[in-house]
């Protein structure tokens, strides 16, 4: 596998009107920018326009900072909201993963990273149990054990925050972490904290969703990858998937079958996030 060529990724939202694409593509063409991917979306309900443009870095006469500086004028002209970005695929992405006891999502992510499929540095794994320390370290990644005593979760969360923030990660991945993030962490990590919930949201919010699903007698179980917000399991959805179950499946069977879609849905959502494919719009996402 040769290294993919370096690219700049522009993501962008602004009020819809005539001439936006012309303005952006005109700006890029003027500097020789070679667009290799371009996606657009207009939300008719809110009249908001979204785009993601991928440009070959070697086609432009400046680096990412230079592009960012020049693009600011375009963004201002188009009244872009403040979330517009220019990112550089030459800059390594960093993630920190939070886990509890269940290892399937962690095993899956580490396997993807080790095989080069998921292009991210896992700076650390933090667990409220020690069960997953060995496999983490076998991958050469630091594991931090932060116990969550029932009476003092606040202190534990402060410790987690410190361990996370020192890496300034692009993604904080809750890989079946099972602890509810306090509101201020939700706020500070907004747009970076990604959770996998083991149900097809908004069904079965909260604890023991497979038990809820079994009781209700559903014929499919699901998984939802979403950004974490202060409202439990109610953040913007990045991706979802389902798998068929039937009357023969016990709760344990549902748990087992569900794991396969949890893993895939989390990995897919994380990949899209790291590639700057996910734009948040209110409580919904645009995934380019």
């Amino acid at each position: 596998m040769t290294a993919p060529e370096r690219r700049f990724v522009i993501t962008f939202g602004c009020p819809d009107r005539t001439g936006i694409i012309a303005r952006i593509s005109g700006f890029l063409a003027e500097h020789g920018g070679w667009i290799v991917e371009a996606a657009y979306h207009t939300d008719p309900d809110t009249g908001w326009f979204f785009t993601r443009q991928v440009v070959r870095a070697d086609s432009l006469p400046f680096d990412a900072a230079g592009l960012r500086a020049r693009f600011a004028e375009v963004a201002a002209d188009l009244s872009a909201d403040s979330s517009w970005q220019v990112s550089d695929t030459g800059e390594r992405r960093r993630a920190v993963i939070l886990v509890s006891k269940a290892g399937h999502c962690l095993y899956d992510l580490l396997g993807r990273v080790a095989s080069g499929e998921l292009d991210v540095d896992v700076a650390a794994v933090i667990g409220n149990h020690e069960s997953l320390a060995d496999i983490t370290r076998a991958h050469g990644i630091p594991f931090h054990h932060v116990p969550f005593p029932a009476g003092d979760k606040a202190t534990a969360f402060e410790q987690v925050r410190k361990l996370v923030d020192e890496h300034d990660p692009h993604a904080v991945v809750l890989a079946r972490f099972m602890q509810i993030l306090p509101a201020e962490l939700c706020r500070d990590w907004a747009g970076r904290a990604i959770n996998i919930h083991h149900s097809f949201l908004p069904s079965f919010i909260g604890a023991k969703p497979y038990h809820q699903a079994h009781t209700r007698g559903v014929k499919l179980v699901g998984a939802t990858c979403h950004y974490v917000t202060a409202d439990l399991d109610a953040g913007p959805i990045i991706d979802q998937d389902v798998i068929r179950v039937d009357h023969g499946d016990s709760v344990e069977d549902m748990v087992r079958k569900g794991r396969d879609i949890e893993k895939v849905t989390l990995a897919r959502g994380l990949r899209w996030h790291l590639e700057n494919r996910v734009l948040v719009h209110g409580n919904r996402t645009v995934v380019f």
Copy 2:
């Protein structure tokens, strides 16, 4: 297509214990019964045993009534609940379909019936609007228009009941009927009234589920075929399915995409019901 050979279908639930299968299959073998399909399920939570047995009619020395009379002893020995049945595939199934304006499920069902795929006599279609009268009559099926004035739905429902009950149908199909059945009809048609709800229940109960789905920003929309009970959209689920949507899909797009799974899910659930494949157990179903 030659006529499928005539079969008797035994469905059955009783407390689990040793020897049930031996008792049933011993009884059948004693009379020369040739079993062509046999399915079993034990629910470990309730300790309840379920079975469905399909026997070639020509292998037994008696007709369905005779089998029923003799099987009663087996059922009593095994403390079967009162819902055990012996049905005869030689007896034509009858259905009445209730509709409103949206025709996709009706078109689909009529097409399946006309092509011989769905083996049922549609005795009548009843609509609270007249939009679907022509297509129904083009299939040679009587269409009854029963208006539902906002202030007097009770009278309308009495009329519907009369039109339905005169056919004593095996299935009352709510093919996007959009009116909530009163509790007494739910009770009287229990286990026969089948609804298609246009969401992946228990998400988005009640009105305008696609609007709710769009607002929540889900990445899949669903459909649920279930028995109607007095609790709105909370009856035993027969089947469910989903289809992928994305940020580019408006509510109208979701409605359109969802139709394809509504049609298929309803048709599949109805077929299973008519073939006596669905056993209700509390608020869940066993689908053999």
Copy 3:
């Protein structure tokens, strides 16, 4: 349902280079064109660029012919291949459907047209059997019976050609037609003749694919919607889908389950074709 607003759809392929998007969007912006959908794709293997642009008709100072005339210059500048088009959603689409005995795809298409979901005039249905005459006429659509005697298919095809060509349709839909189009019809209807094949191509080309699938013991059966070319079942694929089967499914069960995906896959492919979403590139398609 209000009529959707009128739009012009530009589809386009040319060698990839810098500035294409700027050229097109600049041209549109110059005339006040309001782009409501825009999609791009570059094929890295062939270096070919594709786009589909949807513009609000009322935002431009000219009609479709005017746009076409002016856009010709852009197309020439960019060395577009000759297949570029400007189409007008205000112009009704016409289709002719070819059938044999199996009605499921025809029932499905007619239901979609009748309910307004599929926005096309079905100018005629042509069958080599008469089985589907009644349902066609019940929808107010002319049905033509053209027998295909074993010894003289050429004459039959000439008759089909005449019946089709008099409508100059945007789509000739082979809805389980079961007769192999002669090479000259494949050529003359290239890019307009759409077939549904009842397998997941390239598996099980030719006759009786469900029998082939059953013999091979596959665990999924499929359907493929594709443009017809002179190579049997080898034309550019528009869409495919599959459905799960198992050891309990006879060939007849596979046929029945497969129908549900045949119907949906054909309807989806036809819709995309009629909306000018499908661009053919060699033997592959770009579906925007």
Copy 4:
């Protein structure tokens, strides 16, 4: 997770006739056998009957060998073919995994084993490259490197055979092994050697199936888990799955997306095999 209770699993095939179920269940009932799972299938084409029965070990007055000895009489009475088995869930299953360079299936299987989801002892991993030695050993499993020089594969295969056979494994898993087993190994490991092929067979047999899929322009890519036979990629299929791709997906994207279904399909097929759920019938499988 408490240990699941011990069970005996009877699998069985014989010519169909009246009274088979009565004979088997009568035999079990006579000895107090508590059946917890029972599945039946008759193949109408060949007139062959199949069953899988799961009995609580503690309900019978003898061990697996005792059951086997007594069941032999039933098997003989019913003219069962020689492949009938009584297996004991109390006996640990052993597997040997063969790999090459691509690690995704191995990572996945090891993760499932480590988390207790897949109940098997991986006795050894054998690779024709060393790339996967470290992760294997991190799981405490021996890794053997057997190089496959282009000119002398026969010697390499003899070495593999020795390393495999000393464990007498229930399953020899070709987890993207990429070497074609010689005919005598196919024969000696018949019904135990399980391969994952990275296409929806019978499409794209042999080398580079994703390249073949890309060239053909398919809209779904697949994976097939099957028993290895001397005919390349033509053995009995255990399970298959597919994932959607589109024109934007390069061969590399297809490879990446395909991995997710390869992993799941292999793991599912292996689990079914280890649970004695897969009965081979000619070139097809019955999966209970």
